[in-house]
Amino acid sequence: MKRKFIAMFMAMVIAGGSLTGCASSSPSPQNSSAPAASQDGGGQAALPEKSESDERWHPAKPVTLKWVSWEYNQDHELQYLEESLARYKELQPDITIEYEYIASDQYQTWLQTQLVGGTAPDLFLVRHTWGQQYLRDGTVYDLTDALLNEENPYNPGGKWIDTFEPSVIVQVKDLTNNKYASVPTNGVIVKMFYNKELLAKAGIDGPPETFAELLSDCKALQDAGIMPYVVGMKVPEGGGFHWYERLFMDPLTDQFNEEMDLNGTGLIEVNEIARAVDKGVIDITKSPWKDIYPMIKEFSQYWHPGYNAMNNEEALEQFARGEVAMTFSVGTHAAALAANPDLKFEFGVTEFPTITKESNPHSSGIPYEIGGAPQGNICIPATLKDEDKLRAAIDFLQFKTGVEDCSLYVDRLWGVVPIKGITSDNPMIAGLQFKNGVSPLKLYETYFDKKFWDDSTMLGQLYLQDKLSLEEYTQALQDDLVTAKDAYVQKEGWSDENNWGDKQD
């Protein structure tokens, strides 16, 4: 009897233990489900008033905020961060910011667990589309009131919202409810990098300004035994290839923008793309939409042959070896490249050559740039109820989007920022800022349809290698677009009656 009792006890110990949970080291799929709604009920905390004795608000007691991001992890980035936080400490001695880096691969899994558990840090980085979803779920603080009605004390002279580049901040706004869940603190721009020595070696004076010049320069480089260009087109990233799709398509399809832009923001967003597909405005099987692919194919004969196996970073590394004359890469990489003591050549940055009518009669000849998406978007969790901490969190966001910190960011990291009027005397940094309009059509982004996005690279690889005809390629892409549009119509109920879901003020 006693033995039986011991046996039962032992077995129950382990069975009970097994029911409390499991852990494993298995890799995780991305958890795309949104976190559950806020645990602490509705209603946002009331914010304390600003101090009368100072332009800026100061907390009544010392406040410490935890800020988590996947952005700053290299020495030069951390150096900027240290300077930035030190400056903030001077301005706000009673606010301490504790920064923590979490790698991006499992960031969303980590974040969603923290939001559900109510243990999210006081400030955390999100993609702006995640933030919009989190606000709909009630797990993050609604920054709309602060943005629309407050002045940024670190960038005075108007409402906080008016200090942002309109093309950037409009993307942060959730058009389904006209609310802002996050504040963008930096941006992204993609530029053409060129090796000055290799161009000179091929007898080329400077970087090409038109696509026709690019092709002739590539030919000259090839004839001189120099690899002209490197592109990263690895599946599933495919980032590099999508940049070219956009660069070529934007000037060719300018003529349709007015018809497609329902809300007049200047950007053709998801619902507008769905509508354009429904109306037959976007049809990848027809000219001028399909014209981009033969142009890219002609260009691809000058690419480094490993483009199918390289991502954008690897393409840049090939360029950094000094054996390829040109590439197209994210502007902030220029700072790291210039600081690399192993770099054996001088490089320059410029805009991608314009697609002129000489290359395609449909082209508007308007140059566009890749970038302009809101980056460094920071949210505040809805669970942050302490008034001083909440006010401090907003104050920090205002500092991050103020003139001083944005200038520091541009100067140290050679990046772009989402606010107006930041310039640099350094010609290299100035070259890394926007010169032209931002690519308006958001078709070749992950936002619209992942299958279309993936197929355009995967099937694009086959097309560039003559394993798929242009007709087969563009038909497959058009099929993806129609399927995606139908799915949106069914899920969101978009139609002409509800203006395709657009609630823009």
């Binding site: 006693k2 033995r3 039986k4 011991i6 046996a7 039962m8 032992m10 077995a11 129950m12 110990v13 382990i14 069975a15 233990g17 097994s18 029911l19 409390t20 949970g21 499991c22 852990a23 494993s24 080291s25 298995s26 995780s28 799929p29 958890n31 992890n73 290299q74 020495d75 030069h76 951390l78 923590e100 880096y101 979490i102 790698a103 499992q106 899994t109 980590w110 969603q112 667990t113 923290q114 559900v116 558990g117 109510g118 243990t119 590394e317 090939q318 950094a320 070896r321 790291a336 490249l337 600081a339 690399n340 003591p341 192993d342 770099l343």
Partner: protein, 272 residues
């Protein structure tokens, strides 16, 4: 002659497999001494000068993680061995009501995808005030590790001769004495297997510490290596150096435990 050529062929295959296994590790170690330009210029071999400072940079950033991982792994192993050996003994040697149901319900837990219970487990740990402690890295994972371990130990103990336990009982040994003096010593090979497999699982456990124990003071080395910082031209060499350093303790465990591990894996394979 035919036998000789077959043997040469077999050796060639073995050498090829060994090469394919070892060479990627060599590339990792070699790359850990290179700057990023050196990696892209020569990925397959060593490049000079060797950058030993990568190891210094990495070590300074991960040594506390190494200590934390040793503590957490030891805790996991001890707890798992205690729970699963006792449960395995109970399942193997006793009859009691609901035994099969308990055993199978426990086994069924192995079929539940980990991500399904990640959030509930996190909330339970949070309510218990365990977040960012060593305990949160020991208790829930140990309960998971104990499932398979119990299954292995139960199976092993069931194969031990009944007569040994009966003789011990006749000699007056109680259940606990029989467990500690007979069952455990005879189960040494399987306990080594359990120890090694759980050491690997615990050392490499990433998601759970990421969400539940990410503070600087308690985070394990597997998280610490994701936060290694260095200048852009030193990356990913410094990262690789961190990977090499973080795997050294596991290699040491393997060096000392390979023989009993193989014995454990083959225990019962050949009848005497």
């Amino acid at each position: 002659m035919k036998l000789k050529s077959a043997r040469i062929m077999m050796h060639a295959v073995i050498i090829l497999v060994a090469f394919l296994t070892i060479y990627p590790l060599f590339i990792l170690v070699a790359s850990s001494f290179k700057t990023n330009i050196q990696i892209y210029e020569n990925i397959f071999g060593l490049s000079f000068p060797l950058h030993f400072e990568h190891y210094v940079i990495a070590y300074k950033q991960i040594y506390s993680g190494l200590v934390n991982s040793v503590i957490v792994t030891c805790g996991n192993i001890v707890l798992t061995l205690i729970i699963s050996s006792m449960a395995g003994y109970a399942f193997a040697c006793f009859r009691f009501p609901g035994k099969n149901m308990l055993f199978f319900s426990m086994m069924m837990m192995m079929m539940v995808p980990y991500f399904l219970i990640l959030t509930p487990q996190f909330i339970v740990s949070q309510r218990l005030g365990l977040l960012n402690t060593y305990l949160v890295q020991i208790l829930p994972p140990s309960s998971a590790f104990a499932i398979l371990s119990t299954f292995l130990i139960t199976t092993h103990m069931e194969s031990l001769p009944r007569s040994l336990f009966e003789m011990a009982s006749i000699e007056g040994a109680g259940s606990f004495t029989t467990f500690t003096r007979i069952a455990i010593p005879l189960s040494k090979p399987i306990l080594v297997v359990v120890t090694i497999t759980n050491t690997i699982s615990s050392w490499n456990n990433y998601i759970w510490p990421l969400v539940a124990a990410n503070s600087r003071e308690v985070r394990p080395v597997v998280l610490a290596i994701t936060k290694i910082t260095a200048s852009a031209h030193q990356m990913p060499g410094v990262n690789f150096a961190g990977y090499v350093l973080s795997s050294i303790p596991l290699m040491i465990v393997f060096i000392f435990a390979t023989k009993p591990f193989v014995e454990g894996m083959t225990a019962g394979a050949v009848k005497a």
